[in-house]
């Protein structure tokens, strides 16, 4: 199967002199209609990766391909569901869902109709004229999902889409997203720090390492849907990924300690070589602090 979205050696550096290395040669493919979850230790650059796929950010090197062509900037067939919903508070629910279509220049009647269809799909028929502040978090995210779907994308990206919602509502919403995935056959990419969520929704889970993030492992999930979190395979899968992530965190810790030790060592060497200026002391104080 030809990949719908393809990441080829995506690297990303930030900051002055490219000091912060966020992503290191990340490569994986997302097949058409596939649901991929990306997990990783916190702060590893998962969201940066998603932003790059969305075209909101550019990789320092490497490439993201959509249907074989490189992505440079947001693509009309790739849509995004935001962590904090990203709704415009001054727009009603209906106007929010229409926003993407409005930007595409779809005539008013047509976009109204389309927006209503998607509101119905996410179970918000009857809430068209309300403002986001009148809705609960779960309902706001439904609006966010409807808005993302209304532009009829081929790929739906979700950036921690369930993390700002209470757990029970999130559970219901995950079931609905599974259903939407099944119905529409669209490609989904979800970034999350919730392992159960990642396994429950995905056809495959991409596990990233700590910064700079590399692909640590890609785990296909072949459990039948709807998935039971207490199923033995589910539990094993969860345990394995958790193990990988813990290992990563420990590695980071050890790396950090090793760096400290080597710095102390070099200071010690400098002092032993008779360096008389007081810089080494200052540096030692800095390191030990």
């Amino acid at each position: 199967m030809e990949n719908h979205v393809e990441l080829e050696n995506v690297s990303k550096f930030y900051g002055q002199g490219r000091r912060l290395h966020a992503l290191h040669e990340v490569s994986f493919g997302v097949g058409e209609g596939e649901f991929v979850s990306i997990v990783g230790p916190s702060g590893c650059g998962k969201s940066t990766l998603l932003k790059i796929i969305a075209g909101l950010d550019k990789p320092t090197s490497g490439e993201v391909k959509f249907r074989g062509g490189p992505i440079c900037g947001p693509h009309s067939k790739i849509s995004l569901v935001f962590q904090a919903f990203g709704l415009f508070p001054w727009r009603t629910v209906l106007d929010n869902v229409e926003y993407g279509l409005e930007m595409q220049g779809v005539p008013k009647q047509e976009r109204r109709r389309q927006a209503r269809d998607y509101l119905e799909m996410v179970g918000l028929a009857g809430y068209e004229q309300m403002y986001p502040k009148q809705l609960s978090g779960g309902m706001r995210q439904r609006v966010g999902i409807a808005r993302a779907l209304a532009v009829e994308p081929e790929v739906v990206l979700m950036d921690e889409a369930f993390s700002a919602i209470d757990e029970i509502t999130a559970e219901v919403l995950r079931d609905e997203v599974t259903e939407i995935h099944k119905q529409t056959g669209k490609t989904f990419v979800l970034v999350t720090h919730n392992l159960s969520e990642a396994i429950e929704l995905a056809d495959k889970v991409v596990v990233l390492s700590s910064r700079p993030a590399k692909v640590k492992k890609i785990m296909p999930i072949s459990l039948d849907r709807p998935r039971d979190r207490t199923h033995t395979l589910f539990v094993h899968m969860h345990r394995d990924i958790l193990h990988l992530l813990k290992e990563e965190l420990e590695n980071t810790f050890i790396r950090h300690k090793l760096k400290e030790i080597s710095e102390l060592q070099s200071i010690h060497d400098m002092e032993a070589n008779g360096a008389t200026d007081n810089k080494p002391q200052a540096k030692r104080a800095q390191v030990t602090a």
């Binding site: 932003k51 969305a54 075209g55 909101l56 947001p74 009309s76 849509s79 995004l80 935001f82 962590q83 904090a84 990203g86 415009f88 508070p89 001054w90 727009r91 926003y99 993407g100 409005e102 930007m103 595409q104 009857g126 809430y127 004229q129 309300m130 403002y131 986001p132 502040k133 009148q134 532009v151």
Partner: protein, 268 residues
């Protein structure tokens, strides 16, 4: 559920500008009327000489006569026009500058300290210079009003722009909004609560400045009318003019800014 919410929505929409939460109730009328009554009693009883304070009733008589007088109304119109021109000037300069300062940190660091420096100076200290350059006329009044209105608009819009969540810019990018739509459909509504309070402050400041300039430079307008009448001893006309300005200022404040704010209150 939705029917109820609909009702609540219509209710909040039909809340006119002299009802509902803005005035809450009419309790505020009582202390006001009490004040006028006390004024009347004190002056009638001769506790205050009429050369210092005329009776309230005589002020009202002159007021109602004045508002049928064309030249009196023209003077109010004149002051109001200067004020509006000044505010428009302030708005059209402050809004783009504040927007850029709010979104570009380097620009903010370059410009805002200078603006703060000027803002710290009393506006009226520039007046003699403006009169020197432009003469004691409308130009000086308009520029002074715009100077007074500039700072509140600049600082509120700048803050409002800084407060726009980063995510909303990503939303406009994801849905491929062009620069113009991003400004009109995202930035402007997002900063509107800040902008409206800035405009309201600017409006209040500008009124004060306009009256002060008219008194100081004798530019035709309601301020010089008050000054002229009070110094020539016709206090009733002076008070009538003050009353007229108060009514214009309050009605515009409630009607214009009130309705803008009731829009933002629906969603903010």
């Amino acid at each position: 559920m939705s029917v109820e919410k609909q009702k609540a929505l219509t209710l909040s929409l039909t809340r006119g500008f002299f009802t509902g939460e803005r005035f809450g109730n009419y309790l505020w009328c009582f202390p006001l009327l009490l004040g006028f009554a006390a004024w009347e009693v004190v002056t009638r009883a001769g506790l205050v000489p009429s050369s210092r304070l005329p009776t309230f009733s005589s002020v009202l008589v002159v007021f109602f006569a004045s508002i049928q007088n064309e030249s009196f109304l023209l003077r109010i119109g004149h002051s109001f026009l200067n004020l509006i021109c000044g505010l428009f000037l302030a708005f059209s300069v402050a809004l783009p500058l504040a927007f850029v300062a709010g979104s570009r940190n380097k620009f903010d660091l370059t410009l805002t300290p200078i603006i703060m420096l000027f803002g710290a100076l009393p506006d009226l200290s520039f007046l003699p210079l403006l009169v020197l350059w432009f003469g004691p006329g409308n130009a000086a009044a308009v520029i002074m009003a715009s100077l007074a209105g500039f700072f509140p608009i600049y600082f509120t819009v700048r803050q409002g722009t800084k407060n726009i969540p980063r995510e909303l810019f990503d939303v406009t990018a994801i849905f491929k909004s062009d620069r113009f739509s991003t400004f009109t459909k995202m930035v402007l509504p997002a900063i509107s609560p800040h902008l409206f309070s800035g405009l309201r402050l600017a409006y209040d400041f500008a009124w004060e400045i306009i009256i002060a300039i008219e008194i100081a430079t004798r530019v035709a307008g309601i301020g010089s009318f008050i000054d002229g009448n009070v110094t020539s001893g016709s206090l009733q006309s002076g008070f009538a003019a003050i009353l007229a300005i108060a009514i214009v200022a309050i009605v515009v404040d409630r009607a214009f800014f009130g309705s803008l704010e009731s829009w933002t209150r629906k969603w903010a």
